[in-house]
Symmetry: C2
Subunit: 335 residues, 2 copies
């Protein structure tokens, strides 16, 4: 069904208030879940709300927890999320990294003891809107084997890189797995094979069968050994900088919680050459856009471009939301 941004926002606001969130937090959560859905990321927007509520009911997410400063050295800070809602903690840490960047040129905030931040890109868009570049990442529960090994020992550890641009921000939002588990589910429901291998089957063979991968929970890192290595170092950076948990200890928990995240913001406007930035970015984008399509109907995009197209379409036409999901959400909201 088609839902407008306003409708979703007001339903979610009611829902979060019902669940006891303070006004400001309920508003932030309603806005973030709605905007992720507006941008077409239903998997970490509206579709995820019932699971988020389950986490609250099971006492894994503490709705009143406030992230607090746990250590500081100038432009580097370490925060403790105290098991609060991931969106609230991550937004606060992004805001703080932006403040540090505005003061020092760069700001780094490392956050421990937090929960899933939902759509990684949300914080990249937040930074870009504030005129800063950003490099951000989180660790997760294990869902991919390290290259050469059999059991899942690495998280898919989403990485965000954002670059502000007058003509539309560049925002990369990329997990280290070839396919998100949400995407595997879509292929499974459609009865389709993946275009490329996406994980391991029960006989330790790479497979394009989404059902097999969902059952083994052994996703394939992008670029095989390369994404495996990149995923591992992101976990290391996050756990060391925050003095928090790594995928190795998150693995011991029944449900994913206590993750570690890093928010680096760079105020490149400090160099005072916004016009150079715009022309450099335009050159790169035009150069790639000028490619001959490799197959009919294909074209190149810069990271964030499809999001922008989807956002504009959804603002006009409303957001496509699964009927069953919307029914669950409205029931939770008491509508």
């Amino acid at each position: 069904m088609q839902i407008s941004l306003e409708q979703m926002h007001s339903t979610l606001l009611k829902l979060f208030l019902n669940y006891g969130f303070a006004d400001a937090k309920a508003t932030l959560l309603a806005r973030t879940f709605s905007e992720s859905t507006l941008d077409g990321v239903n998997s970490h927007g509206i579709n995820r709300v019932p699971l988020f509520i389950k986490y609250i009911r099971e006492g894994i997410i503490n709705i009143d927890a406030e992230a607090q400063l746990a250590g500081a050295f100038g432009l580097m800070e370490r925060w403790d999320g105290h098991g609060g809602p991931g969106i609230v903690n991550a937004t606060k840490c992004t805001t703080r990294a932006l403040e540090l960047a505005k003061n020092h040129g760069i700001g780094l905030v490392a956050l421990r003891n937090t929960n899933h931040w939902m759509r990684a890109g949300s914080y990249g868009w937040q930074a870009a809107e504030a005129g800063c570049m950003a490099i951000m990442f989180t660790n997760t529960t294990p869902n991919m084997p390290a290259w050469g090994g059999k059991e899942s020992r690495l998280g898919n550890n989403p990485l965000v890189i954002a670059i502000p641009r007058d003509g539309g921000h560049v925002v990369l939002d990329m997990a280290m797995s070839q396919y998100a588990f949400g995407k595997l589910n879509e292929y499974k429901l459609a009865g389709k094979k993946l275009p490329f291998a996406g994980g391991w089957d029960q006989h330790d063979q790479l497979t394009r069968d989404p059902e097999q991968i969902i059952s083994t929970m052994r996703g394939l890192p992008i670029g095989f050994w390369k994404g495996s290595a990149l995923s591992m170092v992101l976990d290391m950076l996050a756990a060391v900088l925050s003095a928090g948990e790594s995928t190795s200890s998150i693995a011991d928990k029944q449900m994913e919680t206590g993750v570690s995240q890093v928010f680096i913001c760079i105020d490149n406007a400090r160099f005072g050459d916004g016009s150079i930035r715009e022309s450099v970015l335009r050159d790169i984008i035009e150069y790639t856009h000028r490619s001959t399509p490799i197959a009919p109907g294909m074209r190149t995009y810069y990271p964030g471009e499809k999001t922008r197209i989807t956002r504009q379409k959804n603002l006009k036409e409303g957001m496509m939301v699964d009927d069953g999901i919307w029914e669950k959400v409205t029931a939770l909201a008491g509508d």
Copy 2:
């Protein structure tokens, strides 16, 4: 043939002095090319020396150029490499980023107008030896299509992430292409197909045939659309932060030059918890090492682990160097 570190260093030192380099620069070049070879990266060590000399002869590399400060805002600096040797410029900028990190917690140096830095990992090892984490990257000439496009429009833009560790530094050194062109050449010479698709053939199909990829010069990004996007944003960050050239303008040159690079160093010892760092890293490494091998003879490694094994072996046994390459190098050295 087998060459000792001392023998290679003294031959290269003679060579670089012959070509007119000042003492300190000749020593740095000899050391860096030798150490890359010691670590098993012959492709960007000894094998690359003849091409480096060709660049000097053609006047693309200016042996006397000194990188100079072109702009500064506290811990963020912009340097101009003035077309000097890539190793000399990159080492200088790493040293400067480390100084800034020691003073401020983080240091960022963006370098423009430089040349190929040879082995990317060299600067990650330099940072780790100095006790700092590092995130570094460079852009390059185009050698991969952007996802959806036909012509090569992206560089393979190597990325380095380093994390110091008492038990052996973690150093990721990773280009955005599934296979380096040096690796494709090895497979071609051995008459073998690649284990996985590595690029596009002349009919715009993905192929495991190294010869086809070398002839089209259209490599495959890691993770298909994902590595394509990551490569593009690294180019954007490098060109914007340095106010330097992007892959789109480097493409116009006969030979690759004028590249842009970024050196970010983080002095995480600032938080004063070295023992936490060691135990976190040990946990992650042990957790992945404990994986059951997915196939006989396989095991997991942390990034930098194989380098360390190779280094220790080569220190004991000498480095394996291609006879033809060594003949060329000794001829250039006038031996």
